[in-house]
Every structure is written in structure tokens, then in C-alpha cells.
Symmetry: C2
Subunit: 304 residues, 2 copies
């Protein structure tokens, strides 16, 4: 569930998306019609798959990754980027249509769990996922379990204050990691280095292309971002000593202009007792599949 | 096990220290004679208790909190502050004398677990402990379990880089929390604010007394420390969303000159989604008991 679209998929036991559909989240202002249309699409996927297989697929459950998703309550809590306002109880609404388990979590947490169940973090007991995009999200796995914390909202490393009294953040505070390493933060750094006003005509993708063409300002931008992200990653290691830190999202796709200085910065900032113990890895899930696979993975979480 | 002394205690089921002894750690350069003398003291405590009770106490196990203690291997790994060098396999050495379980962990992790088993964190599933002293240590409990991470060395928040390119740290890096909120860091801040060279004639305890007398530089020192520690604590909440953060150690004993501005700084730096969800609490264990109770608590850890 994103602010613009809601992507849905039928995921098989082995992690293949066998059907997918989408509805525009921002066409809704109430939960009831939104879930009604969501269930219509789910039924359509199930019927299409039944027609193709000759028998109806059994639904193990419905997993949902959503902004401000709270694992404990199963509700989306007042997500500022959604047109549907308030506390949204998905389980209650979905159970009017289908009697299957519903598991909901924050979207970045779901992405991390997707990596654990279907991606490169299989078998790892301790890892951290950073997702770079409009914002910066994170998901943390400790002892093989997603960390939800006492509130259900743990794992918000994008709002770790990296630089005290730094850039103004949308959360109302200053210096959050997100203000430097989100797509917007990267564009701001590029414009500052270039000495031009910050503009929405430039995207982080364009800065990536410029870097691959050898543009010195673009290269310097990624080095700066790498230094900031590398520091944040090294700091996160002092918490849970993960065996790997995964990276995903649009800006991370730039590749070596980010990854090479990122590895160097991470090593420079890492406390010596952790030297060599933690790899930086790219997510092994496809960018266009991670939301669905992450949501599906939530269903695989052991019950307490 | 500290760099100067090794404090030992016989702890009863309910968390009372019924016997205690001490040997000077820094009188030893080899593990064998150190453990031999340690076992001699343990036997003496057991015998003394047996004489007093009329029957010998049953030893459930031996817990050890030590610098650079590794929970997984049961070894102390090259602790720079110890006169006994190298990788120290306590279990192997102790089992020459006594066939009981030996559990070893980092001293701050042990302190956190002591708070969980015997102190103010009883029944909490998520909390973080910061210990202020010569250094700054931490211990983290997630889902009721001490976080050891993939290496056994998780929970080193004293080496979170708080201020990029800040004060030089003994770890070789710059800007670690420890350089600002350890006893030495606090003295440095006081001297800087006072405009005098940093001296070992001043202690954090003296700065505490000055603050209680209303000395403006001392008060400003604690406000500065509170701002730095409050930021670090708020950042740690984005990781595991604990229900409480505990504070212990000498400098924390100053009380309100630190705690009042600390609560304000914590609130100021806390991401809004966590507002009101996490308390700052003082450890409920006595300063002179925490090392022994923390070590003893390790024996109470559920086996995997």
C-alpha cells in the first residue's frame, strides 16, 4: 500500500508472484470502499489462477505492507501520505469478506522480511535493511525476528539524527538521515554542490546517469551520500551487530558511484571490533516485486 | 571482572548478594593463576555460607560480566584494559575446578540483564541500558532477549558516532558518544566551558557537587551532556522502540542537574511517532551491586 497505488499479488509458496493487480490508493478517502475494491481484485486474481490451474488456489493469508503500519494492532495509524485518514483496521474490514489471517506491518519492515523469506537474507539471524526512496526506511531482524519494539513502530533509522542541527526534515526535526540520503536529499546535495537552487527538474536517477558519464559534481554527490549513509550504517552496527546490511530502492540502483565510496565510508566509520563482520549487500528482490513479496512474507512469520 | 578488581558474589535465587569477595585483576598476567585464585575465593564463599546455613548452597552456575566478553564463545577477546592479554576461555579453565554452567557476556550487557532479572526492567520486553563511567556502555533487550548480534558484541552504543568529526575517541575514531558523556568527556566539557586546560584534578563527581551548589559552569556542563545523551537516546529509540531507557553509573548519580535537561532533550529529539512511549529511568540496582547481580542474571537466561 503506497500513497499513490496499491499493488496486490498472488504469491505462491516458493515466492513467485503468479498474479498481480493494482488500484489507485489516492482515489479513496474511506477504508470501506477501498477494501471492497481491494477484495474484488483479490477475488479476480484467485479466479484467474483457478481457471489457469484447473483448481482454486488456497489462500494462506493476506499480508499488507503499509506506511505507518502497526504490526501489533494490525492498523495503519494516521499515515500522513495517505488520502484515507485515521486509524485503519484492515483485519476487521477484510474479515467481512474472507476468513483468512491478515498480517500488517510497516512497508520497510515488510521489505526486510521479504528479503529474509525470499531474498538474500535467507538463513541470516541478524541483518538490517535500508530502503532509499522518497524517504528512507529500514527494517531490522534480530535473532531471526523482525524488530517491532514496544510500540509496533521500531526500525525508523531514516529518522536517526545523523547531523545535529542539520537539514530540516519533514518530521519537524533536523539532521535526519532521510534529509541526506532520500531521493530528494540527494538532489539537494547535487544542487548545493553545483551551486544552483534546488529544483524538482532534477531527479536522483539523472544524477546517477551523470555520474556514469563521469560528471564530477554528480560523482561528488554520490561520494557525499555514501559518506552519510556509511556513517549511519556503521552506527547501526553498534546496535545489533548484523551479519549484513541490505540496501534497496531507486537511488541505490545507481551502483558503483554509490557502492564503491559507501563500502569505503562504512569501513572507515565501523568500530574496530566489528571489522570484517558485516557485509553491505544489494537486495536480491526486484524493485517491482519487493512490495508484494515483503507483504506476502509477513504471513510466514512464526506466531508467538 | 573490571580492569582493576574482580568482584565476586554468591547470589541467592531472589537476587540477594549473600557473600562477596574481591581479587585484584591487575595483579595477574595469565588466565590460569587468575582463575585458580578466583575459584579459591568462590570456594571460600560457599564454605562460609554452608557454615552459616548448616548446609552447602547449590551452585546453579557462574555468570561473568567482563570487558570484551563474548556471549557466544564464552571468551574475553583481547580486552585492551586488562593486564591478562589474549583470548581468555573462562569456561574451559573454570571447568577444571567445577562442573557448573559458565555464562559470560560483556559487562554492560550483563548490567542490562541484571536490571531485567532483578531490577526495574522486570517484565519489560524492550528496553535499553546506558552505563556511564570511564567509558559509556550499553545493553539492549529486544523481545525479552539480550541482543548479542551476529558477533556476540552487539550493544556498543557508547561508540555510536554522535557528532561527525567530533572529539577524538580512544577507539581511534571521532565523535563517539563516549567522548562526550563518559566521566572524562564530562570533565573535558566542563574545562572547555570554563576556559581552562583539561585536567585530571577535576572529576565528574566534583562537577556534580558544583552543580548542586548552583555553579553556572557546572550546570551548563550537565545541560550540554544532557543534550548529547538525550540525542543518543532518542536515536536509539528509532531502532527498537523500547518502553524504557535505563541509566546507571557514577555520572548518572548527579541527579536532577543531569536528569531534568536530559528529559527535555530526549523529548525534543524524539521522533513524534514515539512521543510518550518511552520513559527515562534510573537503574534500580545499587551501584556497588550491579556488576555482581548482572553477572548472576546471565545464568537465568533461557537456553536457546
Amino acid at each position: 500500500m503506497g500513497g499513490t497505488n496499491t499493488d496486490m499479488g498472488l504469491v505462491s509458496e516458493n515466492g513467485t508472484i503468479i498474479q498481480r493487480r493494482s488500484i489507485p490508493t489516492n482515489a479513496y478517502t474511506e477504508l470501506e470502499p477501498y477494501v471492497r475494491d481491494m477484495m474484488r481484485e483479490i477475488n479476480a486474481m484467485v479466479e484467474e489462477q483457478a481457471a489457469s490451474d484447473g483448481e482454486a488456489p488456497l489462500l494462506e493469508g493476506i499480508g499488507i505492507g503499509a506506511p505507518n503500519g502497526n504490526f501489533y494492532t494490525g492498523c495503519v495509524d494516521n499515515a500522513p501520505n495517505l488520502t484515507i485518514k485515521g486509524v485503519l483496521d484492515f483485519g476487521k474490514e477484510i474479515h467481512k469478506y474472507l476468513p483468512v489471517p491478515v498480517v500488517l506491518s510497516n512497508d520497510a519492515n515488510a521489505a526486510a522480511y521479504g528479503e529474509y523469506v525470499y531474498g538474500g537474507a535467507k538463513g541470516m539471524k541478524h541483518f538490517i535493511m535500508f530502503t532509499l526512496g522518497t524517504g528512507v526506511g529500514s527494517g531490522i531482524v534480530v535473532d531471526g525476528k523482525l524488530v517491532h519494539g514496544s510500540t509496533g513502530g521500531a526500525g525508523e533509522l531514516g529518522h536517526n539524527i545523523l547531523i545535529p542541527h542539520g537539514r530540516k526534515c519533514s518530521c519537524g526535526r533536523e539532521g535526519c538521515l532521510e534529509t541526506y540520503t532520500s531521493a530528494r536529499g540527494i538532489v539537494q546535495t547535487y544542487c548545493e554542490l553545483k551551486g544552483v537552487p534546488v529544483t524538482s527538474d532534477i531527479t536522483s536517477k539523472m544524477i546517477g546517469e551523470l555520474a556514469h558519464q563521469g560528471d564530477p559534481v554528480a560523482l561528488k554527490t554520490w561520494e557525499t551520500v555514501a559518506d552519510q549513509l556509511g556513517l549511519a550504517m556503521a552506527n547501526s552496527v553498534t546496535f545489533s551487530a548484523p551479519e549484513a546490511i541490505f540496501l534497496m530502492g531507486g537511488p541505490a540502483q545507481v551502483g558503483e558511484p554509490l557502492l564503491k565510496p559507501l563500502r569505503a565510508a562504512f569501513e572507515k566509520y565501523l568500530l574496530n571490533i566489528y571489522a570484517g563482520s558485516c557485509q553491505i549487500r544489494m537486495s536480491e528482490l526486484r524493485t517491482n516485486e519487493v512490495a508484494i513479496l515483503g507483504a506476502a512474507a509477513l504471513i510466514k512469520m512464526p506466531k508467538e
